[in-house]
Symmetry: C2
């Protein structure tokens, strides 16, 4: 055709070349392996939920993509409206409510799926991206030990990628809640939202915001003092108590829980954990532990993982109290950043370990049999497709990053040989016993 | 809440309980492993394409889901319209065209992703399902040997699942095309579509259809004769030649190619392969080899895998000739059928191999350390969360199908013990060396 339609990338929907996809797959495999080693079960939910489910918690600031059939008809008009899920928490809540009787609690699940948000493309955000979530859900109550298990798993998953050390910032929403209550601040949801912005807008603007949302000026000034306790300060509990203007039971519970979680994380051998009382996590539904993992050498990156404890997962869907704790790894954002900075270990564009060269059409069956023999030993093997010049066959291997080229006997009486493409060495080899070095 | 929204399954969007999902994951892993062992590289494309791309080949009878932002605004109105992909071939074609200069050819890729079709829910079809595609693409030409490689990989992938023997039906579109030309039938695209329906509507209706689309009555009657050659008849070539009313070069090429493909499949050790000249595959774009894999003991199932050779993958997108051959495994349909018939090996609902019992709160650190020791040896391990009665801890393991329960010493001086839940035996064990039996 002379005037083909020129395809172009769709903004916000990235895709990867095969050699980059290989790294992505390896990373996702490692994350999955960690989740499973800790006994979390995989679930997947449909990409689509009824719009009523996506909006069950009330308005969301997430931009939802709604589906319309291209060839809509009367029958369609009667269907429930469907939307692509914008996170994995709402679908998980719906899943647990719907399958409640078929699940065993505490239910430990991981979920690694794409999610969609109809962000404006010009803002350069992803509109389709991969999240890796791990949560545990109980009925009526859930042991505090899970508040240490969950971030431990997440930290191990990140460590398995070898992309940099992450510090786990931990706090407990009850500390902040009790502290604000003791200061006489009534609209604590609004206050926590303001405090969550402290990193971005600074103390001055936070104090103004607190005052604007009804706090007394002095209380607003003291509210930010808790966040000034240095990250990882061993005396965080004493310093927090010293700031407290009046006894508060919720505050005390928060301090106790956070201490226990930190102790358990230490016992689990998790390194780089720091109490961080400035951590607010601006989501209304967190009620206890809150976490954020940040690169130690790359503070500008923001959070690699984030999560916390919530009182009730699925209250919009079922008359059960289902407390849980979970954490989410924003995989696509992490991967894209590492990619953009050239920090990915990009290698071959194929899983092939051995390319079996094709000496001639007459010896094709021998080449195929050799490939099969190697493949049966669980090696990834392909046979070159045409009896072309050896230089061309070697170029194919080189371009794809295939580490070994195998030469079956080109004439009767010769032996098999294998060439190590990196070492540029070639040696006799037996397809029944050879292993890559 | 007293009146929660009751979630219900959305028709056409199935989801699985954890114990079923485990089987699905194991199956998908096996398919992936087979594809990689044969040197196919993974790619994934966005779930979404511009509508122009999805419709680039002209009208499609696939029902496309179009995305609309819930909170549409003026900026949105200017964006290109986006739709969810309905297969993996169109996105692959767009991918190859877009990244042409970054790929090495022949390009061997596999792609395992969800696709969406806005089918009417009342027809009980899936509206979201998983496909597993494997294709190889060349530039200008592509060796015939790939026409055997591709179905060999697909057959090995199915065999790895152990869900029943599949017979591979193979034909070559050129045989039918040359035969119909020799019969003087002009609208061969229409004729092949009619012949493709033979299984469903019978010879009589096919002949009527051929006549209605312009064929002479006698030619129409002879057209179905090729399809009457028995499946797997060793003399298929002679019998086909005997039916040919006049010499035809395209027919001859088809016979030669099919013979070579069958010989190569035999050399590759693929069992259960049969020439089947009734195989039409009603897609216009197939130009050579065509395949369909069907269960031997379950003919009503239809095709498990299907595919063929096409002359040009991406002509709508790039001024290059990109011939290819590929096959697609409709995973969701296969899995759902096996599930509905109780033929899946469903077991535990968790990957956990060992549950470490918690003797008491005092011994929690010992239990956690034991779990870590086992986990570091790459076992999947969880620790019970509360020092409850042992009966309750054992019930948890039993309900989730966890095969071993580990008892760290409940008192100083005791040894570790492990209980095999199936064998109902309990023995001393060392966490540094124990392996599941």
């Amino acid at each position: 055709m002379s005037h083909p339609y020129r395809p172009r990338p769709v903004s916000g929907f990235p895709e990867l070349l095969p050699e980059v996809r290989r790294v992505e797959q390896a990373y996702l495999d490692k994350i999955r392996r960690t989740f499973e080693r800790h006994g979390f079960a995989s679930i997947e939910t449909p990409s689509v939920e009824e719009l009523d489910v996506l909006l069950a918690k009330g308005e969301t600031d997430k931009e939802i993509y709604v589906l319309e059939r291209l060839q809509a008809d009367e029958a369609t008009a009667k269907d429930a409206r469907l939307g692509l899920h914008y996170d994995l928490t709402v679908p998980f809540a719906r899943y647990v409510a719907q399958h409640f009787n078929a699940l065993t609690f505490p239910f430990k699940r991981y979920q690694m799926q794409r999610v969609w948000r109809g962000e404006r493309p010009q803002e350069g955000r992803f509109r389709e991206f991969q999240q890796c979530d791990v949560d545990v859900i109980g009925v009526d109550n859930l042991a505090l030990s899970f508040d240490a298990d969950i971030p431990a798993v997440a930290m191990e998953a990140i460590a398995s990628l070898g992309v940099g050390d992450v510090r786990l910032h931990v706090s407990n929403r009850k500390i902040l809640d009790g502290y604000l209550a003791a200061l006489g601040i009534e609209d604590r949801v609004a206050a926590i939202r303001w405090l969550d912005k402290r990193d971005k807008i600074g103390d001055r603007a936070v104090i103004d915001g607190l005052v604007a949302s009804g706090a007394a000026t002095q209380a607003a000034q003291r509210a930010v003092a808790l966040a000034a306790i240095p990250v990882g300060d061993a005396a965080w509990a004493d310093k927090a108590r010293a700031l407290l203007p009046a006894p508060n039971a919720i505050f005390d519970t928060g301090v106790e829980e956070l201490s226990t979680v930190l102790d358990t994380l230490a016992a689990l051998g998790v390194a780089n954990v720091a109490a961080d009382l400035s951590l607010a996590r601006g989501f209304d539904y967190y009620t206890g532990s809150v976490y954020e993992g940040r690169f130690i050498d790359y503070p500008g990156f923001g959070s690699v993982v984030a999560g916390g404890r919530y009182d009730d997962l699925a209250g919009s869907f079922i008359n059960k109290k289902l407390p849980g704790v979970g954490i989410s790894l924003g995989f696509s954002r992490l991967f894209a950043k590492l990619h953009a900075e050239g920090r990915l270990p990009i290698g071959a564009s194929t899983p092939t370990q051995v390319l079996v060269a094709l000496p001639s059409d007459e010896r094709r069956m021998l080449a195929l049999a050799t490939a099969k023999q190697l493949r049966d030993r669980n090696l990834n093997v392909e046979t070159y497709h045409a009896p072309q010049k050896l230089a061309r066959q070697l170029t194919y291997a080189e371009k794809k990053g295939i580490p070994y080229v195998w030469f079956p006997p080109f004439e009767d009486g010769q032996k098999h040989e294998v060439k190590d493409m990196a070492a540029k060495t070639q040696n006799e080899a037996d397809p029944a016993t050879w292993v890559p070095s």
